[in-house]
C-alpha cells in the first residue's frame, strides 16, 4: 500500500510537472490569445490539480491533506472561472478565435 501510494503520487506529480512545462511553452509558442489562454489554463487546472493530488497521496489522512483539499477545491472553481472571464472579455473586445497565425502580435 505504501509503495503503491508513493508510486501513484510520483506519477501524479510527474504528469503535473509535465503539464506545467507544456503550459509554459504553450503560452510562448501558440499563435493567438485563445490558444495561449488554453495553455495557461492547462497549467492552472491540470498541473495544479495533479500536483496537489500527488501531495495529498503522500501526506495521508492528516490535517495538511484537508488543507490541500480546500486549496484543490478553490483551484478547481477559480481557475476555470478566470479563464472563462478572460476569454469572454477578449471575445467581446474583438479578438476572434481564428486559427490565423500570429494575428495579435
Amino acid at each position: 500500500m505504501e509503495t503503491f501510494l508513493a508510486w501513484a503520487s510520483t506519477l501524479c506529480i510527474s504528469i503535473g510537472v509535465f503539464l506545467g512545462i507544456t503550459g509554459a511553452v504553450g503560452i510562448f509558442r501558440l499563435p493567438n490569445f485563445f490558444t495561449r489562454l488554453h495553455a495557461a489554463s492547462v497549467t492552472d487546472s491540470g498541473c495544479a490539480f495533479l500536483l496537489l493530488f500527488g501531495l495529498m497521496l503522500q501526506s495521508g489522512f492528516t490535517v495538511p491533506t484537508i488543507k490541500l483539499c480546500f486549496i484543490l477545491v478553490f483551484f478547481l472553481i477559480s481557475s476555470p472561472t478566470a479563464a472563462h472571464a478572460l476569454s469572454k472579455t477578449a471575445l467581446r473586445s474583438g479578438a476572434q478565435p481564428t486559427p490565423s497565425p500570429r494575428e495579435d502580435r
Binding site: 478553490f74 472553481i77 477559480s78 472561472t81 472563462h84 472571464a85 469572454k88
Partner: protein, 331 residues
Amino acid sequence: MELIIDITLLTFLGLTALAINRIDKLFCVIMLSGIYSLLCASLFVTMDAVDVAFTEAAVGTGIATVLLLSTIGATETEQRSAPRRPLFALLVVCATGAILVYGTMDMPAFGDPNAPIHQHVAPRYVQQSQQEVGSDNIVTSILSSYRGFDTLGETVVIFTAGLSVVGLIGFRGMQKFGDRQRAAGITRDEMEQHLVLRIVIKMFIPLILLFALYVQFHGDFGPGGGFQAGVIFASGFIFYTLMFGLDAAMRVVSPRTLSYIAALGVLLYGGVGIATMLMGGNYLDYDVLRHDPLHGQHLGIFLIELGVGTTVFSVMVLIFFAFSSRKGLRQ
C-alpha cells in the same frame, strides 16, 4: 536544494525588476510588480519567515495590485517616455549603491549566530516568550506584546495613509447612480452578462471573509494576525465592488462608516494601552489586564490585533473607494 531554489527565485526577481524598468505599458508593470511581490513572498518562505511571506503575499500581490489597477483606471495606461537620458542620476545611483555595498562589508555574515542582533534580545524572545506571553507563535508575541508600541506606530501610519488619500482625493464626482456605476468600470448590462463570474464570486466572498476571520483569530497559534486579516477581509469587499458596482458596495458600508471604523481600530489599540496604565502597569503592558499575567497577555493581544485588523480593513476599502470613484470623472 534550497540553494537552487534561492538562486532561481533571485534570478526571477532580478529579471522581473529589469522588465518593470523596460516596459512602458503600465498594466504590464502592475502585473509584474505583483509577480515581484509573489517571488519575494516565496523567498521569505524559504527563509522560514512565514508571517512576513503571508503579509507580502496578501498586501503586495493582492491588495496593492488591485489598488494600482484602480489607479490606472483613473489615469493613463501608457508611461510617458522620459525626455532625456538622466546620466547624472544613473551615476548618483551607482555611487550610492557602491557605498551601501561597501558599508555591508563590515556587517556580520547572513545568518551568523554571533551577530549582535542575535545576541541582544532575541534569545529572550525565543526562550521566554512561552512563559512571559504564552503565545505559540513567537512572531505574534514579539509583534503585539514585546514590540506593541512599534505596531501601534504602524497602525497609525496606515490610518494616516487612509486619511491622506481621502483628504487629497475624496469621493467627489459621483452624485448620480449612473455615475457610480460607470465609476466602478462596470455597466449594469455587463454585470448581467458575466453570470458565471457573479455566481462564483458570490460563492467565494463568504469563504474569503471566513478565512480572514480565521487568520485574525488564529494569529496566536500560526502565521497571521491583524494586518493580513484586514487585507484579506478588504479584498473580499473589493471583489464585491468589482462585480456589483461601487454603489452597491457603498450601500453595504458607506465611506463615512468606514472612516469611523478606521479611527475606532486605532482608538481600541491606544485605549488598551491607556487601560493598562490606569490599571497600574506600563503603556501596553498587558500583564495587569487580568489576575493571571498570561490571561492578560492573551486578552491584550486579542484586542490590539482586533484594532489592527479593523483599521487595516477599513483603510484599504476606503482607499479603493476613493481611487475607483475618481474613474467617473474622466468620462
